[in-house]
Symmetry: C2
Subunit: 437 residues, 2 copies
């Protein structure tokens, strides 16, 4: 066997193994939101912050801050490639070509750049802050989360021998396959990959997405990861997230503007995108108040994504609301995206069958479920628990951004401001649910 | 990434992927027996035959006879390499250097060759026959079995996609690891690999042996595969097998010579090998009669291997016999080598703890356990059941060779001849036990 001498030498040479290698390696909804932000909020100054949820594994002593900086610096140097821009321009998204406007694509090519970052150490954790114009900061969310997640994976992988690594991945593959076999019994399922942000690693996410593609047939509808969609010819999945209503709400000059921000932002969305992209995410300040006060045109939207409420309750509530508004729920789509795993997906599918179209946005437990896979035993063994990190909009033009969500434990913002939002939006339908990942 | 163009081109060029690539890729006991056969039976004409046990998966339509011939032809061209001969001469086997005599090593280098072969198709199976001088035929046993086993593996692998192959091996690794974890709780275990003949493939056996080496520590005592012992620096394990008493018995000119053949061959063994290599295999014509009539010097031998009797009964019988002969069983070794798996190994270890040294020769269920690993479903899926093939001495100087064994289902030979042997040896302690693999 003739050795590839150049590769062997190169493998001993390289200084950085980049985690993010393409600007597209982000959730597709970030690109959709970026276009809206670029149009409507090009000059708005914001801050995104990466923070750890309570109980997260410490990063200090595990992740080297210099390595973290090297990874973040690498992302700042990335630009959209020619082929990636052509794909954004020429590809069909949600059945429609040309959803990205030529001026926006031109800006992606010539004007796009990412803001600088600050690392702040506090106790056992680092937090990251990204200050800048909204179009320069929003994409940091997924890059930062995926980098932190994979750096922690790499730190754990270091403790395993080559053979232990082989067993780790063999078990993870066997486990993934167990889930696939479990799900294959139900051909009407609709599942997509939503697992970029807290993935084990890029390569593992790619493996998982390839596995789902190869085996689930039409039940696997695509991936939220734009780069994997581009590379593998899959549907890019996703629409919008909390940062939009949070941002507009933070800019509100009075309580009335605050109350209507959650709807005004969707009017802007409607001016930019059509049809299948009209998916509500109603839980930013509480789903129950959102639906109760919603203008009637929102009942014409295509569907709803539930991200913090018990999805059985959220789906039933949406169905009731549609019926009360005289719409047929069987024409609508209900997407669950919070802490899903194979068993919950099947139960939700059964619960909603024939009542509303159901789709699962499967996240961390698809792309980072290594429970029981580590062959090491004992208290000092490496830890493959996914991080409990979020990266959220925290400030807009100097004013705090707030999220209430349907789960008290997922609320974000300074306590007095959260109090003010609760006074305005109430807390109907909210609950205390432990956050799994 | 720079492609290794030469390798890519070569991978499209090659005509044969040889299964057996070294003459050493055989059970170590074949080499020990070969030396004795070379000394004592150099001019004896014998036949080895590869036959299928009842219920074996058909080979016709699965294995291409041309491919089988190409593999067998490749083996005939192999010779011992310089380094291999030096290893045989210079390595310590069972604590002793120089167990292979210079004249024998010289013959291995200059005189060794394998006989020709005949393929006979009957019904859904092929059988193989090897006629020639005993030293030219004996090594065919393991080569032929390993070739048939791996050709069947390859035939099944053809039906799997790349992704399905990946899952197959991931599951097999996870399964192997489950067994290792099960066995690791008992640090006093002694296990060696006896799985060459019906292995899934050479590479899988190598993986398994590496895994055991990396994780079981001193509990993994070595491998019966001489090539893997040579390549990986492990202990080569094994002593002798049924072909020796079967051969001498077939040559017996009368019933008295037949009765004593099973002991005479061990005298020859004793003249060639010492100490740790003195392991009885008493079941060729039935263990109970063997022990009952054995000359007393056999109670001085190091241990016994049980290959066809329920190993709990065989071990207890050996212990009782040693005590009746005034020997301390705790100084002796009892080896089980028939249809072992992790659970049975642990139960046998517990059963014999403190009473006799116990060692497990783990075969097919170590190197070819793919039960439940195939990701394909349905009746047409590929089959990874290990073959139920044996390759045995069937004729010596025109006279049939016979094995009775402790299991009626494992008896070999023409029925009238088996009858004659049964008349002479009786059937004390024999049983009907289904053959697992």
């Amino acid at each position: 066997m003739i050795i590839n001498l150049a590769r062997r030498a190169h493998n001993h040479n390289f200084e950085l193994d980049p985690i993010i290698r393409s600007v597209l390696d982000t959730d597709f909804y970030k690109l959709l939101m970026l276009q809206l932000i670029w149009k409507e909020f090009a000059n708005t100054h914001v801050t995104f912050s990466l923070v750890h949820r309570a109980g997260d594994t410490p990063m200090a002593g595990v992740v080297d801050p210099d390595e973290l900086c090297a990874q973040l610096d690498h992302v700042r140097k990335l630009r959209f490639s020619k082929s990636e821009l052509i794909w954004l321009a020429g590809n069909t998204f949600y059945g429609k070509r040309g959803i990205f406007e030529p001026d926006f694509l031109d800006w992606l090519e010539h004007g796009f750049e990412l803001s600088d970052y600050d690392i702040v150490a506090h106790g056992e954790q680092f937090s990251l802050h990204f200050h800048g114009l909204w179009p320069q900061t929003t994409l940091w969310e997924i890059y930062a989360l995926a980098i932190v997640s994979e750096l922690r994976t790499r730190a754990s992988l270091k403790y395993l021998t080559e053979f232990e690594l082989d067993i780790l991945y063999a078990r993870a593959k066997a486990k993934l396959w167990g889930k696939v076999e479990h799900l294959r019994v139900e051909p009407d399922l609709r599942i997509s990959d939503f697992g970029t942000r807290r993935r084990h690693s890029f390569l593992w996410q790619e493996y998982v997405v390839n596995a789902m593609t190869a085996t689930l047939g039409p039940s696997f509808t695509g991936t939220s990861n734009s780069y994997l969609a581009y590379k593998l010819g899959l549907e890019a999945i996703g629409t919008n997230a909390h940062e939009l209503p949070m941002g507009l709400a933070a800019l509100a000059r009075n309580d009335d503007e605050l109350r209507t921000a959650q709807y005004s932002i969707l009017e802007m969305w409607q001016n930019t995108y059509q049809g299948a992209l009209h998916i509500l995410l109603p839980d930013t300040f509480g789903t129950t108040q959102f639906l109760h006060n919603a203008p009637d045109w929102l009942a014409d939207w295509t569907g709803q994504r539930a991200d913090s409420k018990d999805p059985f309750i959220a789906g039933d509530e949406y169905i009731d609301w549609l019926q009360a508004r005289g719409r047929d729920p069987r024409q609508k789509l209900f997407i669950a995206s919070d802490s899903l795993d194979d068993d919950l997906i099947l139960r939700l599918h059964q619960h909603f069958a024939g009542r509303i179209r159901f789709s699962a946005g499967w996240g961390t437990l698809l792309t980072n479920d290594f429970r029981g896979c580590n062959p090491q035993t004992g208290p000092t063994r490496a830890n493959f628990t996914p991080p409990r990190t979020v990266c959220k909009l925290t400030e807009v033009e100097g004013r705090p951004a707030v999220k209430l969500s349907d789960n008290y434990l997922k609320a974000l913002g300074p306590p007095p401001e959260v109090e003010r939002y609760r006074r305005i939006f109430g807390s109907a339908g909210m609950a205390n649910t432990p956050i799994r990942t």
